[in-house]
């Protein structure tokens, strides 16, 4: 955390990477992993904090970006746990392209180097050598733990905690605390990174929404609507409000001068300055001035529109002016804050920015927002556990849904899984869930069904289903993608050549069936990362370490004398799963690390199966004879290219869907009205899939709960007279907003559906004919800004 602040532009060193003690720029930095995690000796935190590996890598990479390639970054670690989406690729990149040193080791002491602020790290490598290395700076990757007060609070609330003091939740109820009506999310439930925390948050909101659904819309108030004044055809009367922002702007920019200057600009009827434009009383004053002076367009020269545009637009609305007749001049973030040593130049720049804003606002026209009805039904694609939970969550909140499953049964991958890590029997839970879904009158299940065509857009999709030799068109308002993933069928390790070589799911099947052969086994071997974390599948399948370890424990419990070997690259039992890893070791499961360049090999001779692997401690090959080889094969996404096309959704190079935002929008797409959950997003265990299913449902409800939605007025539109029908807009739009007109005098010309348009302007820029215009960013408006840059009016 402290290091993050040093790297931050707003941190104590202004983003300059220096050692705090002597302000020296470090040349060598070490990160020490697992400080306060995976450690019973010093801190009693047996769990893995799940996020630190990735943070350390990120910090190292960013440090290099700050300070150049000369900076030496070393990360001391035990297992590298980059199990998140796109993390493995980042890790690989850090290792191979950025030159970050990853040192698998145990650090035992850090000694200050006499007479300097440097530190010497003493560590033991895997092969047992003791080495010293001196660093300018050491960053401790300190783990996460629950503060005492929270533990206290939990007691008061009567919430049960785990041994690691995280809130206890169940795999199938990942956000339910032990007490009904109290839901948990984020790191309180277990150590986790941002996307997972965001997922949990949405899921918790969904869970809360489920029990509150009967109270929905009982406390809403209708805001008073101020009639909009028709300003079309009127001469622009521009008001300019220049904000001092306390001293944030006025401390550098001569604000009265700027506001006086603004008065001289064309069409400006009124200009003034404010201490804080965003304060409520200033807002009221502005609304009053707009009315008094008959202003019909407003420029606020202040901070950034990214945060304050909506606020001022609201002020315009309150004054009866269309909210799009507004422009901000960013004289704080882009001016006073960044030119504080040249107040004169900053004042000149502020004038330029105001002049540009005035030039643009004069050209702006009132815009209408398209209003559309929302069909309050959801389509859930995929009848696996995620899809089922999503549909059920929606139903609990009162919304209908259709589940489309290409298979003949519901349940997906969960059907093949034996137990959860907390020893719940998956089949029992799944049966209950399927029963809940199939008996729910609000959920319609379509088995053996695929999707043929999708028309429409957010609020009004029309999807053609094909199943059982019939086609049905389902109207729906939102879509949840829960298409899932499946186990990779290995081609390595002689798989398929011997019945003793099986996959993890095959082993689950044997466990489910209580296969008697399991008890007979003398020896069992697991090989991890089969098909994951290499070559064309450069991602971690996330679930396999835990799965194999859990199954190893199961086997040990069946037959404690069985010799069990787990051949792995890094053990990734993130969070409290680490406890299982520990338990397995306690039970005598033998863990042997192999390197990706030197994989184990399998030999079958005279009916005997033996596995050869180079032991990382002894550094020589050992041969294990075994009766059962379980391959922890990768989880690969189910093919979804067609669906991606239908809904205009992006897929990453591994075939997983790309969410709206990796951190902040994990359960939704950039395409409005389409949501994402489960292993179609990335490999994940059942609890995380369920959480994300709830999260996707929760995000979907934000749309479904509204009868109608308004789209932005800042969209593209086509003047058909100038359209040359070349089709470039249709081809280039990522959102399918343009189409050819099929009827009427402009048949064959293009048109844009304002509901689908995101206003990116790609079509506008691509249209050679100049037929496409952009409300809010039209050529004339941008040209006016451009001309205002170079034109000195007086």
């Amino acid at each position: 955390m402290e290091y993050e602040r040093i790297l931050s532009a707003s941190g104590p060193t202004g983003g300059h990477l220096v050692r705090l003690s002597d302000k020296k720029e470090p040349k060598k930095i070490a990160w020490l992993q697992c400080i306060g995690s995976r450690d019973m000796n010093r801190c009693d935190n047996a769990y893995c904090s799940a996020v630190c590996c990735m943070y350390a890598i990120k910090e190292a990479v960013i440090s290099k970006e700050h300070s150049g390639d000369d900076l030496d970054c070393a990360i001391f670690f035990m297992d590298m746990r980059t199990h998140g989406k796109e993390f493995e690729r980042y890790y690989d990149n850090a290792k191979t392209k950025k030159g970050i040193r990853f040192i698998r080791s145990r650090v035992h002491t850090i000694n200050p180097v006499q007479g300097t602020d440097d530190l010497e790290v003493r560590y033991v490598t895997e092969d047992g050598r003791i080495l010293n290395e001196t660093f300018d700076m050491i960053v401790l990757s300190v783990g996460l733990e629950i503060p005492k007060e929270i533990v206290e609070l939990s007691k008061k609330l009567n919430i049960e905690l785990t041994s690691s003091k995280f809130s206890k939740t169940g795999t199938f109820k990942p956000v339910d605390s032990s007490r009904k009506g109290i839901y948990v999310c984020g790191a309180f439930q277990g150590p986790k990174d941002i996307p997972q925390a965001v997922v949990d948050a949405s899921a918790a909101a969904a869970a809360a929404g489920e029990i509150l659904s009967s109270a929905r819309n009982t406390l809403t108030k209708k805001p008073e609507i101020i009639p909009e004044i028709d300003v079309m055809g009127d001469r622009p009367r521009i008001g300019v409000f220049v904000c001092k922002c306390g001293i944030n702007i006025a401390g550098v920019v001569n604000v009265p001068d700027v506001s006086k200057y603004a008065e001289t600009l064309p069409y400006v009827e009124y200009a003034t300055d404010n201490l804080f434009s965003c304060s409520q009383d200033t807002q009221d004053k502005m609304a009053q001035l707009i009315k008094e002076k008959g202003l019909n367009r407003v420029v606020v020269a202040a901070c950034t529109p990214k945060t304050h545009e909506p606020l001022f637009q609201e002020t315009l609305k309150n004054a009866g002016i269309n909210k799009y007749l507004f422009e901000m001049a960013n004289i704080r973030n882009h001016d006073s804050w960044v030119h504080k040593d040249s107040p004169e130049a900053a004042t000149e720049k502020a004038k330029d920015l105001v002049r540009m804003a005035v030039a643009k606002v004069a050209m702006l026209q009132p815009l209408k927002e398209a209003e559309l009805q929302v069909n309050q039904t959801a389509l859930v694609i995929g009848g696996g556990i995620s899809g089922l939970v999503a549909a059920k969550t929606l139903s609990n909140q009162g919304y209908e849904s259709h589940i489309v499953e290409k298979d003949s049964t519901l349940g997906g991958q969960a059907k093949s899984i034996y137990k959860t890590t907390t020893n719940e029997i998956v089949a029992d839970e799944l049966k209950q869930l399927i029963n809940d879904v199939t008996t729910d009158s609000k959920i319609h299940v379509h088995l053996n069904t695929t999707i043929k065509k999708v028309d429409g857009f957010v609020g009004n999709f029309q999807t053609t289903l094909v199943g059982n030799a019939t086609e049905t068109v389902i109207p729906h308002g939102v879509t949840i993608m829960a298409t899932g993933a499946s186990a990779y069928k290995p081609s390595e390790y002689e798989f398929g050549k011997d019945s003793r070589i099986i996959t993890s799911l095959d082993l689950d099947q044997k466990l489910i069936n209580h296969d008697p052969m399991l008890k007979q086994l003398q020896s069992a071997v697991f090989i991890q990362c089969v098909g994951s974390r290499e070559n064309n599948r450069l991602y971690c399948s996330r679930v396999c370490c835990t799965h194999s370890i859990h199954n190893a424990i199961e086997l040990k419990e069946l037959n404690p004398n069985m010799d069990i070997y787990i051949l792995y690259r890094d053990i990734r039992t993130y969070g409290e799963r680490e406890l299982l890893y520990r338990k397995a070791r306690d039970l005598g499961v033998i863990f042997i690390r192999y390197s990706v360049n030197n994989k184990p090999s399998v030999a079958i001779q005279n009916g005997k199966m033996s596995i050869s692997v180079t032991d990382h401690v002894l550094n020589r090959p050992i041969i294990i004879e075994t009766d059962l080889l379980t391959l922890a094969s990768a989880l690969i996404p189910n093919p979804a290219e067609d669906l991606a096309q239908f809904f205009k959704l992006p897929l990453n190079e591994d075939g997983f869907f790309v969410e709206r935002h990796a951190k902040l929008g994990p359960s939704e797409f950039a395409t409005d009205g389409v949501f994402l959950c489960g292993t179609a997003h990335y490999p994940k265990p059942i609890d995380e899939s369920i959480a994300q299913a709830k999260a996707a449902a929760s995000r979907a409800v934000t749309l479904l709960a509204r009868k109608n939605i308004f789209t932005s007025g800042q969209v593209a539109f086509i003047n058909p007279v100038n359209c040359s029908s070349c089709g470039i807009c249709i081809s280039i739009c990522p959102y399918s907003a343009p189409s050819f007109i099929e009827k009427g005098p402009f048949t064959g010309k293009a048109q844009i559906n304002p509901v689908l348009c995101k206003g990116c302007g790609l079509c506008v820029a691509s249209c050679r004919s100049g037929a496409i215009h952009h409300n809010g960013y039209d050529n004339g408006q941008i040209f006016n800004q451009l001309f205002a840059i170079t034109e000195l009016p007086n």
């Binding site: 040359s724 029908s725 004919s769 100049g770 050529n779 040209f783």
Partner: protein
């Protein structure tokens, strides 16, 4: 060439007789040497006026735009590539066309021939790959056609039609290992001041007649950007910056679509080598996207569609 011509006339006559097309689009003999005129033939009897020789450099695709009838069109390699682009861009439908493909051995460059004689050229005839020039005083000269090819034809990679329904002769061998971009690399290697001077000189004689634009089959917009009035952002006078802006943006509009048919250069009354602009973008499209225009009906040019996996290495 005369064999070509006969074959063209026969095919045109047959297509009209069989009512496969309503009109045939071809060339008729021009009124001055080295000039043929695009024409429409509507009845079988008139097909005899169709000609073919090395002066058919105008790209007839230009005349297809937005036509409604069924058309037989005589098309060289480059023309067919533009037909492809026209179909892709909804300017004509494939079903409307019977493409009479001409395996092309190149068109001759008027200016080069004019430069060979002191006096005015009175007549130019051709036989096989030889050109015989007669001047106004009766002097003659015979040269190899390849010496006087239009500069785009001498570096042509697609002499044969890429799409056709009829063929007037056997396909001709395509040239291999052509360096299409020698001139462009030379410009690219210039320092920016040199480049500036180069373009300044190159465009100094431009009279903004827009013949280059109008001869180009790609330029079919109802309102060209130079004519936009709301806002009018491009001056209409002889300001060199406005002239340059026109040429640059015209070239941009042809990026990924230009087939280097040479119509623009051929049309220029001031002999400006305007192809150097479009060729630069052609080179970029080849290098960045592996794209050559007008070879397939199934794909749109690289700058015409949105792909999440477009190369981004040039963004730095």
């Amino acid at each position: 060439m005369i064999e070509y011509q006969k074959k063209i006339q026969n095919i045109a006559e047959r297509l009209l007789n069989e009512k496969k097309v309503d009109v045939v689009l071809g060339f008729k003999k021009g009124t001055i040497p080295m000039m043929n005129q695009p024409c429409l033939v509507r009845v079988p009897d008139e097909t005899q006026k169709l000609v073919w020789d090395s002066n058919c450099g105008i790209n007839l695709t230009n005349y297809l735009t937005n036509r409604k009838e069924r058309i037989g069109i005589i098309a060289k390699g480059c023309d067919t590539r533009n037909i492809v682009t026209h179909i892709v861009e909804n300017k004509i439908k494939r079903e409307q066309l019977v493409i009479i493909g001409v395996p092309c051995t190149g068109m001759i460059d008027k200016a080069k021939i004019n430069g060979l004689m002191v006096n005015e050229i009175a007549e130019v005839s051709e036989h096989n790959q030889e050109i015989t020039i007669t001047d106004s005083r009766g002097a003659t000269k015979t040269i190899q056609k390849k010496e006087v090819l239009q500069s785009n034809c001498s570096i042509c990679k697609y002499k044969n039609p890429v799409i056709y329904d009829e063929l007037v002769a056997d396909l001709v061998p395509e040239s291999k290992d052509i360096d299409r971009y020698e001139d462009i690399r030379k410009i690219e290697s210039m320092a920016s001041s040199e480049k500036f001077k180069f373009f300044e000189d190159m465009l100094s004689t431009c009279i903004r007649c827009y013949a280059c634009r109008n001869a180009c089959p790609l330029c079919y917009c109802p309102t060209c950007f130079v004519d936009e009035s709301k806002p009018q952002w491009l001056g209409k006078g002889m300001d060199p910056i406005d002239i340059r802006t026109f040429h640059f943006l015209r070239a941009y509009h042809c990026a990924g679509r230009c087939t280097d048919c040479g119509s623009c250069e051929r049309a220029c009354p001031m002999d400006i080598t305007v192809r150097q602009f479009t060729k630069k973008l052609e080179k970029d499209c080849v290098e960045l996207f592996g794209w050559e225009a007008g070879l397939t009906l199934d794909k749109r040019p690289p700058l015409d569609h949105y792909k999440t996996n477009d190369p981004q290495s040039f963004i730095k």
